[in-house]
């Protein structure tokens, strides 16, 4: 099968997943028992008149058959229209684009930190003495088990409230970015370190490493110049996982550190039952996930052409 055909098949599969996700959200809205027109008018407490309800139904096309509504829904999504927030009364996409900068800043710094930490820890601890390894895997177990809000609160306690080194909240300036990034990065870094070390240890058994050693390279050079590059391949596959944990973690971390961002938007929308906003953020996340995985697939093919020949 040609590369082009494979790529287009993957693309098609990605579009299929998104279509499935959109369908799922549509079914959820229509079969969860809530009255959409009532929700648009502000819930049962708003006590709208039947005429008003009927007018809203007509205006939003809610009086049409479900199949027609489904068609309209897909068409609007295809044009990037995620609907209007019940609560904020602005398009969901606009609300998201106003908030996404802060979340991107947080997740990129966290991702960078997590990857750096994992690289350093894995290179330092792979194939070392038993004590180093059990100390490392023990701390990884604890850190990857502790939820990010637990880590975040402990960081707050120590660095903001005990030592007063860093601000406890806000989204202004790089200083307010440090604690949330660390809290978000640590659990991800712990998982990555475990996998990277395993992969490094497997690589260090390979013949070309023995060859490099035979040429008289130092241990550091062997690890940095030869083993690391090879061991990184499995890490690329995890990009989707990293993305999902960072996005999920951002919800909690943004609340904890009183930051702006998509996570806060999602949380407020959930509390207020703002369905279009909740679904908009979720669909966006699913889209990014699909795109990330598609990219990972292509990158893997490029790094290791063998994976294309399955």
């Amino acid at each position: 099968m040609s590369t082009l055909k494979r790529i287009s098949l993957r693309l098609l599969a990605g579009v299929g997943v998104l279509w499935g996700a959109a369908t799922l959200t549509f079914l959820a809205v229509n079969f969860s028992g809530g009255d959409t027109a009532l929700a648009i008018l502000g819930g049962p407490d708003a006590l709208p008149t039947p005429e008003l309800l009927a007018r809203v139904r007509a205006e939003y096309g809610l009086d049409q058959p479900l199949t027609v509504q489904y068609g309209h829904y897909l068409a609007r999504l295809a044009h990037g229209d995620l609907g209007e927030s019940y609560r904020l009364r602005i398009p969901v996409l606009q609300a998201i684009s106003e908030q996404i900068g802060a979340t991107l800043q947080l997740s990129f710094s966290a991702a960078l930190l997590a990857i750096l930490l994992a690289l350093v820890c894995a290179i330092l601890t792979a194939n070392r003495s038993r004590w180093v390894r059990s100390a490392a895997s023990g701390s990884e177990l604890v850190i990857s088990s502790a939820p990010s809000f637990v880590i975040g609160i402990l960081l707050l306690l120590v660095f903001s409230f005990h030592w007063h080194w860093l601000p406890p909240s806000g989204s202004a300036g790089w200083r307010s970015l440090i604690l949330p990034s660390v809290a978000l990065a640590l659990p991800v870094a712990a998982v990555l370190t475990q996998l990277l070390r395993q992969s490094l240890e497997d690589t260090l058994e390979q013949p070309f490493i023995a060859m490099a050693r035979a040429r008289g390279l130092s241990e550091t050079a062997v690890r940095l110049r030869h083993a690391l590059r090879h061991a990184l391949v499995p890490l690329v596959t995890l990009a989707g996982f990293i993305f999902a944990s960072l996005l999920g973690g951002a919800v909690v971390i943004e609340l904890l550190f009183a930051r702006q961002g998509i996570g806060r938007l999602m949380l407020d929308a959930t509390t207020n039952k703002d369905v279009p906003m909740v679904l908009g953020v979720t669909l966006l996340a699913a889209t990014v996930y699909v795109v990330v995985n598609l990219a990972v697939d292509l990158i893997n093919r490029w790094i290791d052409p063998r994976s294309a020949q399955e």
Binding site: A28, S145, P147, F149, L157, T270
Partner: protein, 295 residues
């Protein structure tokens, strides 16, 4: 979190201690850390079964005069903003945490197993349909999926279990399917079919038990993840309403008093972490043994 990475366990490695049973054999070789983890889990089970035996006070007994007492001889872990004993609240909170973790895991496991079995044994079109559905579910980050479910169904313990449990379904479904495909072609299954056993009997008596053992081990590790997810949702304010002792909820309230009463968040934080670490440590040990790796 560790369950995000898919693993297929192809039975014990041949020759490398593969015949070692999973149970209590070799218990004496366990490292002290595992003993501690096991003891802690036993303690948790006792606390969830009979909290009144362990807790020194009533977890709801509020008294304004006793508010914000630091840990001392009478209140070992201090008191909270309403003068309630923190230790007692922690002990009474064990039940909801463990129940949450177990129930959500069982929910995810049950649906995942059903879908995985149908997918692995059924016709190809059904397999394809189910697996594409699983792909769709996997595209939603866990916590966002949980928040969607809470938006539609509202908060509270039962919905929290549903919200956390559903996130596990696609992973268990893939795992069970992979295991089933593996076992399906094994010699003993062929033998059972040749001997004329009915299809249902082969599935129930041979395929399910053999495909299921590794899945159960990963589910044990998964319990830690569901407890974490449940605590996070309860921390976000979607758990049982305030007076109820829940670890995540206790941390959410204690957050407001970080500067003056740090113990209010420190103890629940420690409890959650120790619980998840203990369960994960035991699960990983089981996994290591089933793979036949040396201790």
């Amino acid at each position: 979190m560790s369950q995000a990475i898919e693993t297929v366990i192809v039975g014990p490695a041949p020759g490398v201690g593969g015949s070692r049973p999973l149970g209590f054999a070799g218990f004496t070789h366990l490292r002290p850390g595992l003993w501690a983890a096991g003891l802690f889990v036993v303690l948790l089970v006792i606390a969830s079964a009979v909290p009144q035996l362990l807790a020194p006070y009533d977890p709801l007994d509020a008294s304004a005069r006793l508010a914000f007492q630091q840990p001392n001889a009478i209140h070992w872990l201090g008191t909270d903003e309403n003068g309630r004993d923190v230790l007692s609240r922690l002990i009474y909170g064990v039940r909801s945490s463990l129940f949450m973790g177990l129930a959500a895991t069982v929910l995810g496991l049950a649906w995942g197993t059903l879908l995985g079995l149908i997918s692995g044994l059924g016709p190809r079109w059904l397999d394809a349909a189910i697996m594409r559905g699983v792909d769709v579910l996997l595209a939603f980050p866990d916590l966002l999926l949980a928040l969607v479910i809470i938006t539609f169904f509202g908060q509270g313990t039962a919905n929290l279990i549903l919200a956390v449990g559903i996130a596990g379904v696609p992973r268990y479904a893939r795992l069970v399917r992979a295991q089933t495909l593996n076992v399906r072609n094994a010699g003993y299954v062929e033998a059972a079919v040749t001997l004329g056993q009915s299809q249902l009997a082969v599935v129930l008596r041979h395929i399910l038990p053999n495909a299921f053992k590794p899945v159960l081990i990963l589910a044990t590790i998964g319990i830690g993840g569901t407890i974490t997810a449940g605590a996070a949702l309860s921390f976000l304010g979607f758990g049982a309403p305030p007076p109820a002792p829940e670890w995540g909820g206790m941390m959410a309230i204690g957050r407001a008093f970080l500067a003056n009463a740090p113990w209010l968040v420190a103890w629940p934080a420690l409890s959650i972490t120790l619980t998840v670490v203990s369960i994960s440590a035991i699960g990983r040990e089981l996994l290591r043994r089933s793979e036949g790796k040396p201790l």
